[in-house]
């Protein structure tokens, strides 16, 4: 067996992160007037040719490398899902954190 059962700890942990994500989603919806134009620009920002060209081999690697490791949790869904989510969100998240830290983006 490679995983543990759902103990009360994990139930609480899941509830906590689900609540955290729901609150974040609520904030994003609340702030949509500012975010939607920004996301349109962000989409163009992501579609720079070299980023797409670099993403393709990265996606293939992360999607299929799992089968050559000892990690039973690293399958096509976790690999490709994390790669796609990372490509779509990581540049925005890192940029947003920087902008907040330097005071360019109000919370």
């Amino acid at each position: 067996m490679t995983a543990v059962g759902i103990s009360p700890f994990f139930v609480k942990y899941m509830a906590a992160w689900a609540l955290f994500c729901l609150t974040a989603a609520f904030i994003l919806v609340w702030d949509r007037k500012r975010l939607i134009p920004e996301w349109r620009e962000y989409w163009c920002f992501l579609c720079v040719p070299w980023k797409l060209w670099l993403f393709v081999p990265a996606l293939v690697f992360v999607t299929f490398a799992g089968r050559y490791t000892n990690d039973e949790t690293w399958d096509v869904v976790t690999g490709s899902g994390m790669a796609i989510l990372t490509f779509l969100t990581a540049p925005w998240v890192v940029g947003l954190i920087y902008q907040v830290l330097v005071g360019r983006y109000g919370i």
């Binding site: 543990v4 994500c21 050559y68 869904v77 899902g81 990581a90 998240v93 890192v94």
Partner: protein, 284 residues
């Protein structure tokens, strides 16, 4: 808060949730993943935020920056070249590749260890050799990137030499010589006679090229059919009485000589003698 939630969901909680659905139990790897994946996620975020500086030529030094430092981020960068980013992107690529592989060693290696050294001894045993394995992976990634970087640099150098030859011939009025630098593929689209007339008209209207500055470039290595190196160079050319933006595409087949495959000329608002006429733009 939304940024942190996206970070943790994308790098960790999405994975936990899917595995819970797949296996019916909460994965035992949740904590390790929660601690490691954000580093990989941030490295990827930094990598995709790299951009070449708008006006910096590669010859002038480090021409890159992080996009989010711009006041108008996340607007698309003006300069979308990858060439100046090749070297700086290596550490981020290494972190992204090193992270997962350092934790999840290749299966075959573990099976050999089990047989030869009496494993399994649980997860602790897996830590042995992680550093050497990861170092090998890192060396491969660095070597691959360095190789790519050399290829790009060589392709650019050869294309620039061809463009210099073109400008020097045009400067000396040797249009026949300049015409010999174009490929057969170019003349399939625009006949030699048509192109000669255009170059002569260009010379009559604007004079000889005085100075030229490389504004942007990119190199693409193609494999398989039509294998070779395609380089795009964009020059800001100051003629005697016009300023023209010239985009040249050169192609060097793996087993052949480099030639001009495409050439576009576009008149710019000139610094001197601007007659306000629109320059014909030809493409191949």
């Amino acid at each position: 808060m939304a940024a942190i939630a996206l970070l943790l969901f994308s790098s960790s909680w999405f994975y936990d949730d899917y595995l819970l659905w797949r296996d019916g139990v909460y994965t035992r790897r949740w904590l390790g993943n929660l601690m490691l994946s954000p580093f990989i996620y941030v490295a990827a975020g930094m990598l995709w935020n790299l951009e070449a500086k708008e006006s910096a030529d590669f010859r002038e030094g480090a021409g890159f920056r992080l996009s989010f430092m711009r006041a108008d981020w996340p607007k698309r960068p003006v300069d979308t070249r990858f060439g100046p980013l090749v070297l700086i992107s290596i550490p981020f690529i290494v972190i992204a590749a090193f992270g997962p592989l350092s934790v999840h060693l290749p299966r075959t290696w573990i099976e050999v260890k089990k047989k030869t050294e009496g494993w399994p001894r649980g997860l602790d045993g897996l830590e042995i050799g992680i550093a050497s394995r990861a170092a090998r992976v890192a060396i491969w990634v660095v070597a691959l990137c360095a190789l790519m970087s050399c290829g790009f640099s060589q392709g650019k150098k050869e294309a620039e030499a061809l463009a210099e030859q073109y400008f020097s011939m045009m400067q000396g009025g040797d249009i026949e010589g300049a015409l010999s630098l174009y490929s057969a593929g170019f003349y399939e689209v625009t006949s030699r006679a048509e192109w000669q007339v255009l170059l002569e008209n260009q010379r009559d209207r604007c004079g000889a090229p005085k100075t030229h500055t490389l504004v942007s470039w990119n190199v693409f290595n193609a494999f398989g059919t039509n294998a070779g190196t395609r380089t795009t160079l964009v020059y800001d050319v100051q003629y005697s009485s016009c300023r023209v933006s010239e985009k040249m595409i050169t192609f060097k087949p793996d087993d052949g000589k480099i030639q001009i495959q495409g050439h576009w000329l576009k008149k710019q608002p000139g610094k001197q003698g601007d007659k306000g006429e629109s320059q014909v733009t030809l493409k191949t």
